[in-house]
């Protein structure tokens, strides 16, 4: 198992248990991970303690993943966003990429794929 030094990630998903488990697995690999389950808490965390990378589920209640992405884009500090997309969210993934998302992964994703993308995103930050 490899260690990843000091990358800070925020996982935004209303599936709290899933987000918490992914965060714990990332922590084991040395990535500092926090979670948020709604738009307000996600944007609050991003403003007060900006992570290096945001992993964002597209199917979020309220303003949705794309709404959160638009809000992140308005911030002064540019934070790369990796979208978690479902089977039928191809159009929304493309829209997300057009809105400046770093990349997207199909949910459920392989953890190693997600980590590779987090590493790439953290590099370009």
């Amino acid at each position: 198992m490899y260690k990843l030094d000091n990358i800070r990630v925020l996982i935004v998903d209303d599936e709290e248990e899933l987000a918490a488990t992914i965060a714990e697995r990332l922590e084991i690999r040395g990535i500092q991970a926090q979670t948020a389950s709604d738009a307000d808490s996600a944007l609050g965390l991003i403003k007060t303690d900006p992570p290096d990378v945001v992993v964002l589920d597209l199917m979020m209640p309220g303003i949705g993943g794309l709404g959160i992405l638009k809000q992140i884009n308005l911030l002064e500090k540019k934070i790369p966003v990796i979208l978690l997309t479902g089977y039928s969210s191809k159009e929304r993934s493309i829209e997300g990429m057009n809105l400046g998302a770093f990349d997207y992964v199909l949910k459920p994703c392989q953890l190693d794929d997600l980590i590779s993308k987090i590493q790439e995103a953290a590099k370009i930050k």
Binding site: M1, E15, E17, L18, T21, I22, E24, R25, I28, M59, G86, Y87, S88, K107, P108, L111
Partner: protein
């Protein structure tokens, strides 16, 4: 079933498969976390560690199987999103194989996908098109004996696209595969769908095949 009913079923199925996908994703991550914890746990402090690791791998394999099934079911649910769109025949046949595989396996019949080397795209109703192919395959499955093979071959000749569903092997009724075709539920349904799609189907006795032309 009318269009509204089909869309209703599609919408409900899409929603449920999305939720099931989240459940499977959680199980995968939780079992993955257990595997991670075991991998950093000392062998001496965890008796039968290897057996736990093997069991966790089995859980992950089953989750992977569930994800594949849910993905295909979700794809099926979205067939009713629109009644006119571009349909890739190779793709819809690959999906058909998934939808009919279980029925074929029970009868010990092999389904062979023989995709065209060229991409064949037609504008059609994807739900009705899939239903027509399913009916044709079902008709043949119910009349072929154990150990048979059914090949599904799309083709394009000028503006005419076709799908040939060809059987190889013994018939259950040795006289003819199309003996009861006029009263068969599958073929009556196929006939009515073909009328809606402005297509036709042919029963090819000599090759034990049904050819759908769209």
């Amino acid at each position: 079933m009318n269009e509204k009913e089909i869309k209703f079923i599609g919408k409900i199925t899409a929603g449920v498969t999305h939720e099931v996908n989240n459940v499977l994703a959680s199980i995968r991550e939780i079992s993955g976390l257990m595997t991670d914890i075991l991998s950093i746990t000392d062998e001496t402090s965890f008796p039968r560690k290897e057996k736990f690791q093997i069991s966790l791998q089995k859980i992950q394999n089953q989750v992977q199987r569930g994800i594949k099934l849910t993905c295909q079911l979700n794809k099926f649910s979205h067939l009713s999103d629109t009644n006119k769109t571009d349909v890739d025949l190779n793709e819809i046949i690959e999906h058909l194989i998934f939808l009919t595989e279980r029925f074929a396996r029970i009868k010990n019949i092999t389904l062979q996908n023989r995709p065209s080397t060229q991409s064949i795209t037609i504008t059609s109703d994807p739900f009705l098109l899939q239903m027509s192919l399913f009916n044709a395959v079902s008709y043949l499955l119910n009349r072929m004996d154990n150990g048979c093979e059914i090949s599904i071959c799309p083709d394009k000749n000028g503006s005419q696209c076709s799908v040939s569903i060809i059987c190889k092997g013994e018939l259950l009724d040795k006289t003819s595969i199309f003996k009861d075709s006029s009263s068969s539920e599958e073929l009556l349904s196929l006939h009515s769908i073909m009328e809606s799609l402005n297509g036709v189907y042919e029963l090819d006795e000599s090759n034990t095949a049904i050819i759908i032309k769209i």
